[in-house]
Symmetry: C2
Subunit: 556 residues, 2 copies
Amino acid sequence: MAKTDLEIAQECVLEPIETVAAKVDIPNDALEHYGKYKAKLAFDLIKELEKNKEGKLILVTAINPTKAGEGKSTTTVGLGDALNRIGKKTMMALREPSLGPVFGLKGGAAGGGYAQVVPMEDINLHFTGDMHAITTCNNLVSAILDNHIYQGNALNIDPASITFKRCLDMNERELRQIDIGLGAKVNGVKREDGFNITVASEIMASLCLASDLMDLKERFGKILVAYTYDQKPVFVRDLGIEGAMAMVMKDAILPNLVQTLEHNPVLIHGGPFANIAHGCNSVIATKTALRLADYVVTEAGFGADLGAEKFLDIKCRLADLHPNAVVIVATIRALKQHGGVAYEDLKEENVEAMLKGCENLAKHIDTIQQFGLPYIVAINEFVSDTPEEVKALQEWCQANGHPMALSQVWAKGGEGAIDLANQVVQLCEQENDFAPLYDVNDSIESKIESIARKVYGAKGVEFTPEAKEQIERFNELGWNDLPICMAKTQMSLSDDGKVMGRPTDFTITVRELRPSLGAGFIVALTGKVLTMPGLPKHPSALDMDIDANGKITGLF
Amino acid sequence: MAKTDLEIAQECVLEPIETVAAKVDIPNDALEHYGKYKAKLAFDLIKELEKNKEGKLILVTAINPTKAGEGKSTTTVGLGDALNRIGKKTMMALREPSLGPVFGLKGGAAGGGYAQVVPMEDINLHFTGDMHAITTCNNLVSAILDNHIYQGNALNIDPASITFKRCLDMNERELRQIDIGLGAKVNGVKREDGFNITVASEIMASLCLASDLMDLKERFGKILVAYTYDQKPVFVRDLGIEGAMAMVMKDAILPNLVQTLEHNPVLIHGGPFANIAHGCNSVIATKTALRLADYVVTEAGFGADLGAEKFLDIKCRLADLHPNAVVIVATIRALKQHGGVAYEDLKEENVEAMLKGCENLAKHIDTIQQFGLPYIVAINEFVSDTPEEVKALQEWCQANGHPMALSQVWAKGGEGAIDLANQVVQLCEQENDFAPLYDVNDSIESKIESIARKVYGAKGVEFTPEAKEQIERFNELGWNDLPICMAKTQMSLSDDGKVMGRPTDFTITVRELRPSLGAGFIVALTGKVLTMPGLPKHPSALDMDIDANGKITGLF
């Protein structure tokens, strides 16, 4: 029987974190240890590094995800290990997993097989407490806000207008919509509320786009929490708690250093939702890694239509990052699903369906080309892939002029991505003329249309009357010069999750806009976006255990 | 202007935690570092220590708290420092502060002035994440429980009977009573719920009474969460998640090592509410400290009627601990309040009122005598105390045969408690015949009556019809052989918080009983107990800040 990711991770003899740190010249006294194998990089080190020259930045993205899986995180880790194997001083910058899904279905987000980040259990549980700090920071806002209303409401806040929700790092469908302040009058003001999962909190998005603690404090101050009875926006700074919030985040703002199974350094820091937020690890982690290593491999959530677009249009724009190459991950299984094969039939060879599914891949390649970036297709191989399928895919890439590499990182670790690594190094040598897809000074409508047409391949965008009204209001309030964060299903290029492959002749409907002024973008919602997941019928938690020696089982 | 506790703490040049650990022979490789000045003691060390001989155990308790303050934590820290100064190898074992009150009014719980534990900011903020782990562990139960009902309710749970609440480490009056699962059907089962503050969670009480991780897992399994439609109790073990819960707590179960301003070792671990729970730090921390040091100073919440009674009747009984001496802390200011002086008039000399207030002190001394333990009264001196007041108090102690020491630990640290320390060492040399006040095999009614008569000085106990019915039910379910955890106002010996001094001729009314089967006791509620505090009109959070160098202000 194949080993589980946890079993593979548990077999690894980890190196002390100071040994891993030394590989990128981090001295031991610049580490804030969290046990023997995790450390936060000290505040002083991060400041001192600002003078360093930055290395090459490689983004790993993917086709639209399917149930078959693409292995984007696994490829990111494997590529980082492979670059180290061919002698390139390389770090990885990844997102922190959320605890909620760990107890549900999904489990770990730290790679898989022999391309993993360890200590796997700690990374997937409390890690260094960043998620908990975000939860606390978020709920401090809600507590102070409701208390303000209860204690006299000097700001004249309309409780029905509150836009800022509480949060928990747990899959809690029962908390999506709740009534609070019930019972006696001393239980506060009665109103409707709801909880988001922590990664969907604007605190998380703000953390991930902040340049330092003072910038984060300023972003917190800008967060919109409600409106007054006479329709004026109320911000966190009106409540006067951005200082306390920054204090709560004093450690959470420092990136976390861990290692791959091959003992290469990885920064794991921040993990905002890739729908209502931008879905990439923190700017601080990416920049710090670029100043420590010659190559940095990072990833963005979901497919290139969501994660990569936001990485390039939001994160790179706001943080002045210039990527050098993009890796687009696909699997033959997932391509077959995009070509119309049902999940149950994926084991059967089907070259025709795979080639049809390549249309989805082709659109994401087109998107990366529009951003002006060199790219390579990485095919994450599965044992079920047939030689005919592999050959046909190689021919398709060659015929269309797409650089391509096969990778076996799940089974072989870095050894399985040597070819990919060598090609990526070549791409990074090319000059590129990267630019975001739209000008932030364009109108909100025009920015959304640019994304829909250029990235999704839509023929246009429809705005509901509610959305039009909001845009008008945002224009009046001066919130029109921010980048757009699209909230769209990740399953399709369109806004209908059932449409696979490469749809044409469709429009995108924008139903609602939400200002994330602390993060610094406007969210455009194209459908119902769930910001609090639920647990499945048989949650993973039921199978988890720990024995008297502290050995964990059942964590995926 | 006098320095704040935070300013004094920030002036301290801390020793590396490995240096502090070495003072009680803890090797560096037995530390799990959390930064440079905090560490968890490794699992293997704790196991290995089990063979060690145990040191002397000193409990610090107090008179009934008043607005004037007693300085119990400050005395605990100062006494520990003083014992070290007179050459005794001493550790302290304290409770972890809760974040909720930090943002509200109360602030730190790690001593004050020159008798503090540091790093003060970290201890009062996220520390090593124990509170967050407890919050997660608690809310995992709720998420799995509601999901079970939503996914078919195989256990036939009556949603209206659910006794287990969600929790947050935040003062959130609006979450005391809420309706959840509102809106669409996919938002789960609609029902009434509420949040406790994390320290009021049974997860916290269970952690603090557990002997090790496997014992904790078993305790989790025993926690009552609801009843079935046919009135059968449903436990966590029926949901099958005690393994996942223990996994979540794998680090939180390890005690945290920090230092006093005088660099002496302190374990801070666990901090259950002193009303619906037993209000002392973890058994694991106390036992570990006893195996590392010759003297261990610890404290229990509120006055001797609550904290000390529970420490002695619950914690010492369940953990087989044998205390050697008790320190009863009082201030002249607080005694005057018990003698009838209003808070505003405390600055004025009032020997008569102080002597009247000594009645309260006398009752707590009587309680400690009933437990068969040697004791000393520690008067925590204030600048406003007059020579006449001090002299009268010394004479009162002498006339009544009570050992007594003045202490100035706030202003002088350990140097201010040398006399107290010397007297405590003498007390520890005495043989004592400590025994709990009641037999656990007595009836629930009889156990409660023992506490009310012997500890509170009540003439009897009345049980409401609801309480009587519950007792009958608990007897049938076999929950009658557990110790009792009284939930009573801390402000008075009676169950009326406005009655100060030493009331007589009163009865205690028990309104409700709650089984805490994981913790291992039955809670008897004598009034409305708030398990979720609210924020004041001007919460401390509004005055907190952090600057670009990471320096914190406004944290008390």
